[in-house]
Symmetry: C4
Subunit: 222 residues, 4 copies
Amino acid sequence: MDDESVLSKNRIEALTDGIFAVVMTLLVLDISVPQISSHYNIGSVAAETELLKRLFDLWPKILSFGISFVILAMYWVAHHRQFHYIKQSNRVLIWINIMFLMATCLVPFSTSLLGEYREQEISILVYGGNSIVIASLLYFQWRYVTTSHHGILLDENLDSIIKTTLSRRTLFGIIVYLIATGFSFVSTQLSPFLFALVLIPAFLPNKTIHRITFGRSHEKIR
Amino acid sequence: MDDESVLSKNRIEALTDGIFAVVMTLLVLDISVPQISSHYNIGSVAAETELLKRLFDLWPKILSFGISFVILAMYWVAHHRQFHYIKQSNRVLIWINIMFLMATCLVPFSTSLLGEYREQEISILVYGGNSIVIASLLYFQWRYVTTSHHGILLDENLDSIIKTTLSRRTLFGIIVYLIATGFSFVSTQLSPFLFALVLIPAFLPNKTIHRITFGRSHEKIR
Amino acid sequence: MDDESVLSKNRIEALTDGIFAVVMTLLVLDISVPQISSHYNIGSVAAETELLKRLFDLWPKILSFGISFVILAMYWVAHHRQFHYIKQSNRVLIWINIMFLMATCLVPFSTSLLGEYREQEISILVYGGNSIVIASLLYFQWRYVTTSHHGILLDENLDSIIKTTLSRRTLFGIIVYLIATGFSFVSTQLSPFLFALVLIPAFLPNKTIHRITFGRSHEKIR
Amino acid sequence: MDDESVLSKNRIEALTDGIFAVVMTLLVLDISVPQISSHYNIGSVAAETELLKRLFDLWPKILSFGISFVILAMYWVAHHRQFHYIKQSNRVLIWINIMFLMATCLVPFSTSLLGEYREQEISILVYGGNSIVIASLLYFQWRYVTTSHHGILLDENLDSIIKTTLSRRTLFGIIVYLIATGFSFVSTQLSPFLFALVLIPAFLPNKTIHRITFGRSHEKIR
């Protein structure tokens, strides 16, 4: 079958690393150096105070930068972890990955939108929607490679517990995004901060992830 | 002969992956966050409606982004597939590849032109011309490595059917671009959408590609 | 333990190299081509003089570019050297590295701020603070991998002298940054030049680093 | 000795490929989509003519883009070729390479300056000077690794003819740049085109390079 013609995985990893590197760096372009009025004397206390004030005014953009950078890093770590166990690729896997990268490339736009209009319902929906699409594609990609028929793409010695853990971590992220986005209808002011909650599962040990999602803990979790 | 002094292929792959990563990400810079007039109250329904309207106005740019991203991805997949079978490089191959990358770097410009003037004949010609040049260089690169004299650059166990399939896929793309570009003389409004047709061969199984282009199907197609 | 589930190190290296490549290149975007008034005749001596003058006016930006480029290169070399001895990664190491990359991505902003307001206390504090955070994360990363419990991440044959030398080099950099930043309270004009002092340890042989920091020299230093 | 503590070469290659990818792509940002006055009707013949005219006005920028892209590609090919024979790196080699990358990062600036003021003496001097520095650092890098003491960095089976050929190719480039830059004192209009002459040695077989530079041809040149 056409789908089963296998290709090496290293090029996809290289393209993904490259796109993440550019996207993560582009986020900072949104934080531009403030301009202070030219009637201030250089080095004067007044200029100092003015510049300090302007720098503090940048906080929503710096917050958006920080949150987006860390969320992107989480996706990258999840991708890294998946491809650690994937041993080769095929046409379908490449295209799922490209859709994932396309959604990732939109993050500087949706971050910039959220930084500019952080109390508008619509910008939270765009940002949250973007995050949900990215996480869902990661989830779908992992499902694709782990389902029996496509097992040939995967390291055969892969423990089924790792398969499940990776699925649940991603699913957990999607649920947090859905809640954070949905919460924007209650309060547009708190919703952006809720996105930071996705970080929690990233730092929880696998055992806890299992206990939360299944109410019990496996013995052999790594 | 000078041409035959071989070099490793991994550096070309790295440069190509890097340039595609940057080009694919730069495409999004064309979609800038809309500015709404400052007399709207932040968070008000009027501001919401205005912002929503402005975001919808971005659709031609989002469409150009989407089409260009996927077309670039197609080129990248084709390049990946060629270099999967190429085992080493030489001076000529490197320079064909550099010309291919140069044409690729112009895609953000031609996409931006098409997004700005999507109903002007000239912008469709520039965009279509750019696509045709890229696809032709890919085709020419594959011809160069597969012709008998340069066989030393290629994996010797490579099936001749794969050689032919890759050629035909690229040729098919060039034909679709030519038709889409030419159609702009009939209707400038529909032509941009025709470019999306190139995606069809990308998702057709190899068998169908052979049947369409040759009227028959090989047995051993992978 | 969750922390000990090991991952390959090559993807972190690739993301780091990608981000450094973009950040180092973005620095140059701060140096924009000067505009000369259109009433000068093209190619005239007056236009020549005016353009030359405008190019000379760029010196603070070119200086900022040069210093930041070399400082970033130093961090990259330190990272390269650490990962030369690190043989695999885990979740904690990846996240320390991501924090390091996040601080690195802010360098174009803090460089641009310093280039624009080079005699303002606050811009030197931001620039110096950014540098100190980056160097501290590098120091912390090395401590993390070298402490006994995490020894499994490290090449086991690694000489303890190399472990110490890498720590001290980074520590030396942090001290220079602290002095240069603190000196801004004495003179905002000289402080930026003091940052260039970090280059000294980068070019000192390991022996001298040991002698300076410990008052004696080891025999087997490489 | 400190200099002789060897490091792997693949990270330098990755950073170099990344920086070249970004720099080569940034060049295109200089070619911005022309704006036509809003009183033209979209799709009208007048708008078509106006847009076509504006696109033709971009020719000096497109020419600068093309020349700089190909010159950068030449440097990259030369770097690729050098590192094909270099088997490991040390501190000095890394820093020569970083200086080479720093000069490379300035190419978008000097290209943009030449595109904007192509008939000003000063912009040709800046562009030419930048090219000469880059080529000289490449030449110096090759000298450093090939001189006897540093032979340990090089593949030991490397033919001395290849050593000489690489040196001469780079030297040839430097001479062409010097002539092209110097010619700007005669004619600022023709000088930019002279830069394109560097392409000639890139496409000459090694034999001819030897014959031109030494008046005779070696037998075993590859």
